[in-house]
């Protein structure tokens, strides 16, 4: 059996280069590879462009468009877009472009921070549950189910109502509200991530390559960090991007209900809330705020889609 078929001459099939010839090193780092794959997803690239533009606009825009957000001008109430006010004005004659850019900073920052919190907490809970099984797993999943079954919106309102004032005293009105909103939104969005990570762990820990790593002497921590977690991360990233979108919407909801940031601090949700009474006379007011939320959420979801494809090495692209 053996011996009769000596290892057939080993040459690279594609190039026909024999073993002895050392080929120049073609070094493709995983990051560059992922970027190459990401670029294939046109909608994701377009979305990344849109999101980057939005971020650049809200970060650097106020440096160029130096109109203050709270300059009241009753002569220019509820004006449609014009050269003086590119996005028009609100009922107090305040410039909407300036308010949109300022509000975008808060809305996007809340979205990213709440997502980070949800993903970190969710991954931690899911990973611990997935590794330990048994009682710890049962306890953590019980906690997850408990959080999932809480009526979120009333509870959000209650928590914010209870703690807003004390946090404001400690960290100032803006920072205090920011922390509170991020913690509250993040604290109610980690459960899907935890379940996802746990399910991934359960299927991955039985996979042959994890057993191979165990057989070759990898410690439990190493098995988890090096072998299981990276393979579980694809769906988590996708869930994370959707969480950014959901957090932006949640913040808008809170602001819309008048429970987010103080009324004088504009966020996209707050602007929408203020605009609702003037939909018939000044539709632009609501349209720009709603459009910004819509565009941000949509592009973040497409980016998540593209990332999932780019980070999956099993997918040939």
């Amino acid at each position: 059996m053996a011996g009769s078929t000596r290892a057939s001459p080993i040459v690279e099939p594609a190039t026909g280069v024999p073993i002895a010839v050392a080929a120049p090193r073609r070094h493709v780092t995983p990051g560059r590879e992922a970027w190459r794959r990401f670029r294939r997803h046109r909608l994701a690239v377009l979305s990344a462009g849109i999101l980057m533009t939005m971020i650049v606009a809200v970060v650097f825009g106020p440096l160029i468009w130096r109109v203050p957000i709270n300059e009241i001008d009753f002569a220019a109430m509820l004006e449609s877009p014009s050269w003086a006010h590119p996005l028009g004005t609100d009922d107090l004659g305040q410039d909407l472009l300036a308010r949109m850019m300022y509000g975008g900073r808060i809305s996007l920052a809340v979205g990213l921070a709440a997502m980070t919190m949800a993903v970190v907490v969710g991954t931690l809970v899911g990973a611990v549950a997935g590794v330990s099984r048994g009682r710890v797993d049962a306890g953590l999943m019980w906690l997850t189910d408990l959080f999932l079954s809480l009526p979120q919106l009333p509870l959000l309102l209650l928590i914010i109502y209870l703690f807003r004032d004390s946090l404001k005293e400690v960290a100032g009105p803006e920072m205090g509200t920011f922390v509170l909103i991020v913690v509250v939104i993040g604290g109610f969005r980690w459960m899907p991530v935890a379940r996802l990570v746990r399910a991934q762990f359960f299927s991955l820990r039985e996979r042959d390559f994890v057993e191979a790593a165990r057989a070759l002497g990898a410690s439990t921590l190493r098995q988890v960090v090096r072998h299981i977690l990276p393979n579980a991360l694809g769906p988590v990233i996708v869930a994370g991007t959707i969480d950014v979108a959901a957090a932006i919407i949640a913040e808008s909801t809170l602001s819309f209900l008048g429970l987010g940031f103080p009324p004088d601090i504009p966020t996209w949700g707050r602007i929408l809330y203020d605009a609702k009474d003037y939909l018939d006379v000044a539709p632009h007011w609501a349209l720009f705020a709603g459009g910004a939320i819509f565009l941000a959420v949509l592009s973040i979801n497409y980016i998540g889609d593209g990332l999932r494809d780019a980070l999956d090495p099993r997918r040939v692209m």
Partner: protein, 328 residues
């Protein structure tokens, strides 16, 4: 040939690995004795479910516990019993002393890392090598297992390799820390025949080069005849016969071994229309609370009433030839 004159590298005696299930206790390995000498190739053969893989996994304590449990027996590695060792101590033995390769090369590599990183990881886990040194070792190992242009391939991901190439990578990974024993758990089952031959050749070459022993687990008698020096035949969680490979194929004693050898398809007999390929009738008995007595009795042509009374012990009937059957 007879490696047992010196102290054996690995000596398993009376090993019992049971699994608790809802239906009862599965006696997957029920009193196995075997030994491997330095630099020896030991073939372990048997049907599916006879306990070959569980034995191998028990040696490295890769059994899920619970539901698995080592109920009895000793696993002496160079005179040191592995059974009482904890996870941390076992971890130091894995791949540094005893390495294992699995049946499925397609799924045994982590898809998110390059093969070089994975080999380097094993090296770094066990030796205090720098990233650079570990990667250099990976290239060297890939060259040893005859992967073309290793300095390029080391940066490729598993999906860029074929099944045979992946098994070569697995072998490179397993050997990267210079183990004294390589357990090959059906290393060629998932590969096609020509690739099988190449992998077996490679294992032979690696054995010569590193001077390690190999425990080759397979259900393919042809693979055993080609590669092993000594053979252990297992049936339903027990060793039924042990002999040198020539002895076993020339004069198989146990009725089960005889049946196995008769069931090998042979080119020189195929022309003869009247000689049908023989098969052993029946199937492997359930290992859930098996009855006392010889486990092969139900399928054995020579079975007598005495066979179902008590299980025969493994006895040495000739020098180096052991069998567990009341006929001898």
């Amino acid at each position: 040939m007879d490696a047992r004159t010196a102290e054996p590298l690995l000596e398993i005696s009376g090993l019992k690995t049971y699994f608790k299930t809802d239906d009862g206790t599965v006696r997957a390995v029920d009193g196995v004795d075997l030994a491997i000498g330095r630099g020896e190739v030991l073939g372990v053969v048997g049907e599916s479910g006879c306990g070959k893989s569980v034995t191998a996994h028990t040696v490295l304590k890769l059994i899920q516990m619970p539901p698995g449990k080592i109920n009895d027996g000793r696993i002496l590695w160079q005179g040191r019993d592995l059974v009482p060792l904890d996870l941390e101590e076992m971890r130091k033995i894995r791949s540094k002393e005893i390495a294992i390769i699995f049946q499925e090369p397609m799924t045994s590599l982590n898809p998110v890392y390059t093969v070089g990183e994975q080999i380097a990881e094993v090296v770094r886990e066990h030796e205090h090598a720098s990233r650079r040194e570990a990667l250099d070792r990976a290239v060297e190992m890939l060259r040893l297992v005859q992967i073309p242009t290793p300095e390029r391939r080391v940066h490729d991901y598993p999906h860029q390799f074929s099944g045979g190439m992946r098994q070569r990578v697995m072998i490179a990974m397993a050997l990267s820390c210079n183990p004294k024993l390589l357990i090959a758990d059906e290393p060629t089952t998932a590969l096609d025949v020509t690739i099988q031959a190449q992998i077996l050749d490679l294992l032979g070459e690696m054995k010569e080069r590193f001077g390690m022993a190999i425990m080759l687990i397979t259900h393919d008698m042809g693979v055993v005849a080609e590669t092993a020096q000594r053979v252990v035949v297992m049936y339903a969680g027990r060793v039924v016969e042990e002999a040198s490979v020539e002895e076993l194929f020339d004069r198989p004693l146990h009725p089960y071994t005889q049946g196995l050898i008769r069931s090998i398809p042979r080119v020189d007999r195929a022309a003869d229309q009247r000689a049908r390929l023989e098969a052993i009738s029946g199937t492997v008995p359930s290992l859930l609370d098996p009855p006392p007595g010889c486990r092969f009795a139900a399928r054995c042509k020579f079975a007598t009433a005495a066979c179902t009374q008590a299980a025969p012990d493994l006895r040495e009937v000739e020098p180096g030839h052991k069998v567990a059957c009341i006929l001898y």
